[in-house]
């Protein structure tokens, strides 16, 4: 530790430079041996520190050299400040327990369905899809007839529809809780005045008369619809493969197999490869693939119902359950879908 020093009177530039040189070296030495950098700093840069004393002592330098002296002093000050830079730290030696748990803050949680919706929306937004929201309570016409399912057709049985207790509409038929988001297809065609391009993602509540470990009366679906000139099956495959990769991770692929829906032709069943065995078969998936939902090329009658000429335009559509799609994520392990609508905090707070 350097005690307060007396600085000699400096009367020439040369003497100044010599003094500065000496103090620079001294400062370095002090820093190396110092246990209290704060003290060292004030020794050099403090009110009565070495620098200030040096600055006072140049009064004997001839007038014409004073400017040069000033510049040299300023350079010295910069050097000192750089070397003596200390961070404002807490007092040396006082112990703080950093292992103590944080105080409890109430953490809110977004519902897993909302999280899934957001993720799904973002995946499709990236490839130019527009998200829309169509009614959950709709006319029979949009939910079935416009989708090439005439009244009393056996195909409707599959959907176990809820009907609303009101009189039939003369043109639109009965009022139903839509059993699928496909009611959005013709509605979107109408919104765009029958003029493609269409790239739609409709996410909405649906309802079916069924309740067990893998079905709830009320659930959510997301429906994709793409219509333009020259849309073909490869594009459907490409879009589904893209979604599989984005939603389930690199290495997940999709597969389409023949199926039947009245509103698509050809129709497909869509599977995603199992993340555990990658399509080979294991005890989780049994066959290597998980069925996620349906898809197909939009039936010409549906395009016509939406005012679109099927000779000029083609399209594809897919509609899947959000709960089902989400539950296939790696490591999720949800075994009872009813938990999602149960307001059971012990379940919801895990998300």
């Amino acid at each position: 530790m350097t005690k307060k020093q007396n600085i000699p009177i400096i009367s020439s530039i040369k003497e100044l430079q010599e003094a500065i040189s000496k103090y620079e070296q001294q400062c370095k030495n002090d820093l190396n041996s110092s246990t209290n950098p704060q003290e060292t700093k004030s020794c050099y840069l403090g009110k009565n520190g070495i620098f200030n004393q040096l600055a006072k002592s140049i009064k004997s330098i001839p007038k014409e050299n004073k400017k040069e002296a000033g510049i040299i002093l300023n350079t010295f000050k910069d050097v000192l400040e750089k070397s003596l830079k200390t961070t404002k730290s807490s007092k040396q030696g006082e112990w703080v327990d950093l292992t103590i748990p944080g105080s409890k803050k109430t953490q809110g949680h977004m519902h897993p369905i909302s999280q899934a919706m957001e993720e799904i929306t973002n995946i499709f937004k990236r490839i130019g899809f527009t998200r829309v929201r169509y009614p959950a309570v709709d006319w029979d016409w949009y939910a079935f007839e416009a989708l090439n399912m005439p009244k009393n057709h056996p195909a409707r049985d599959e959907w176990e529809t809820f009907f609303v207790d009101v009189p039939k509409h003369p043109k639109r038929g009965k009022m139903v809780l839509t059993p699928h988001t496909s009611n959005g297809q013709v509605r979107e065609m109408e919104r765009l005045g029958g003029k493609p391009p269409i790239r739609m993602i409709n996410i909405a509540r649906c309802a079916r008369r069924q309740q067990d470990a893998t079905h709830t009366q009320m659930f959510h679906q997301f429906e994709g619809l793409v219509v333009d000139e020259s849309i073909n099956i490869q594009h459907l495959k490409g879009t589904i493969d893209y979604f599989a990769r984005e939603f389930y991770g690199e290495g997940c692929v999709s597969r389409i197999r023949p199926f039947h829906f009245k509103f698509t032709e050809p129709s497909f069943e869509v599977d995603f490869s199992c993340h555990i065995c990658k399509g080979k078969g294991c005890h989780f998936c049994k066959s290597g693939w998980h069925e996620v939902g349906g898809a197909g090329m939009v039936h010409p009658n549906v395009l016509r119902a939406g005012g679109i000429d099927p000779e000029k335009y083609t399209g594809f559509a897919f509609g899947w359950g959000i709960e089902r799609t989400y539950s296939l994520k790696k490591g999720l392990n949800i075994d009872d879908i009813r938990l999602l609508y149960s307001a059971d905090l012990q379940f919801l707070e895990q998300f």
Binding site: G108, E118, T130, A136, P154, Q217, Q234, R257, Y341
Partner: protein, 659 residues
Amino acid sequence: MNILIPHKWLLEHLNTKATPKKIQECLSLCGPSVERIYDINGDKVYDIEITTNRVDSMSVRGVAREAAVILKQFGIDAKLKNLNLPSVSKPKDSEVLPLPKVVNNPKICKRITAVILKNTQQNPTPKWMAERLEQIETNVHNSVIDITNYITHELGHPCHAFDYDKVMATGGVIIVKEAKEGKKFVTLDGEEYITVGGEIVFENEKGEIIDLPAIKGTANTSIDDNTKNVFLWLETLDAKKVRATSMAHAIRTVAAQLEEKNVDPHLSEIVLLRGIELYQDLTGATVASEIYNYFPGNVQVESIKITAKRIEDYLGIKLTDSKVKQILTDLGCQVEVQKNSKNHSVFIVTPATFRGDMRIPADIIEEIARIYGYHNLPSVVMPTRIPTSYPKDTDFNLENRCKHYLVNIGYQELYSYSMVSEELAIQSGYSLEQHLKLANPLVENNVYLRRSLVPSLIEAIENNKLRKELSVFEFASVYHPQKNELPDEELHLSLVSSKKLREVKSDLESLLGQVYIKASIKQTEEQSAEIICENKKIGEIKIVDKLTVIDIIWNKLLSVAKHHPTYTPVPKTAVIIEDLTFTLKEKTAIGPIIEAIVKVNEYIKQVELKGVYKNNFTFTITYLNPKENISNEDVDPIRRKVVSLVENEFKGKLVGELN
């Protein structure tokens, strides 16, 4: 619908060395989905899902036909075996029994084929047939009954065996008609039914019902232990009527499922011949009549025109004309290739009679694409135009921002049912009659389309009483009925919290702050108030059972929400901040006082409620003059005005004195 097909039975119609596993794999990729393979009675049995448009595949032979085409496409040897059914010679005159008289209604029945089989012995079903029936989960009785089930499963058209003598005893006349309402009939298992009107029935001349075709036999004509002669009968009914009959009496039979899907009437010929063969072999019967065949309108199959270009449009790749022709021909179609005026190939495709699902060009494309193999098509995201027309009055980003914000300040998001119980419906404040309700609810707790999210949220908090402080929210639609229209699906953002009121109010203020709006509260009742922004009511805040409830109408919020603030320059002058404490009378609303104080002078920048102690309210007032530093001399008169305002208009009393 599912069908069970034993592998060995399949091989009687399909010539192939492919293993069951391979057959499962190939079929599932290009045709009917083989969901499982069981091991029953020493054979593999396929459990296959057949889609409702492919009734032609609902039989052993139907699946064999599909397998032959599909396996070939995978380069595996497979061929559909010919059906070698023995021809039937006309019986000697001495052997002939008279045919019943048939009066058909061609509007409801497209075809009838039948034959009389004499001297049928009720032999037990042979082991090979019994095993197969077990494999397909069909009950085994005796050969006379089992043959009908067997041939239907094998070849895909339903058939029925009448007791010939009983039919003759009821008058020997079969009239095909639609039943009148209210007629009684007794089925072969002794159950009594009454007609609803419109069902397809067979009646005798006396108007008695002698059969419910495709649904259930009646006691008066069905096979029993005494049957000596069988009248083997196949009818092809109108699909819609069969379905209506089946649904009306809630009897679902294999026959009904086939007929309601437009099974091909041409199939009844081969089923009849196969039936004759088996009856002769297994029951010792002899043919005792000519084959009755009523087939007024031979099904005319319309040909479909499709261009090679159209196929290419759908698949995205070009197939050779010969490949297209081969696939379609293998599937039983007749194909003619022509060139149009532009010298492009055009296919004229005439599907087989059993392919009633092939009607439009898209159907043809489906056949070609699935046999070619969807797995063989490339996978490309479409490089086509991207639409930029977005739905009006919708801002999903804002919805997510608000949800995220609430989550981050400790709220739990819930999703609850749109259909609620009577109790919850009434708690919304609307009467039951003011709600839409389900005509066919599944459970009592979910009947009414809710008009408020709040009762469901309150219920959730009450179900979690152990939590000291719980805050929940839901963002969903409520359903306001509209006469002759769909309900107004009004989106609400509703919050319910058991925290202290002032904390919840601060949550509301900061939530609105996220969208750069400030709202004022207009108290309307003892425990409820309106949330007002820009002179519009955007929601309500109220206390329900000690819980604070905030109910925001989303589209109203959306109409005043902003995406960014309007910058106010940071003042360069100094502020004076001071506290004033007033004693206020009971039930004095603070909000209006603060609003009034702020209005007293333009230099009052901000008024905050600092603290409350009993009836004493401390306000922190910030004074600022943006042009020059405000002085105590400037503040003094303003302060006096404030005190005077509170004392005179709000009946408060300043604590302490002004100098």
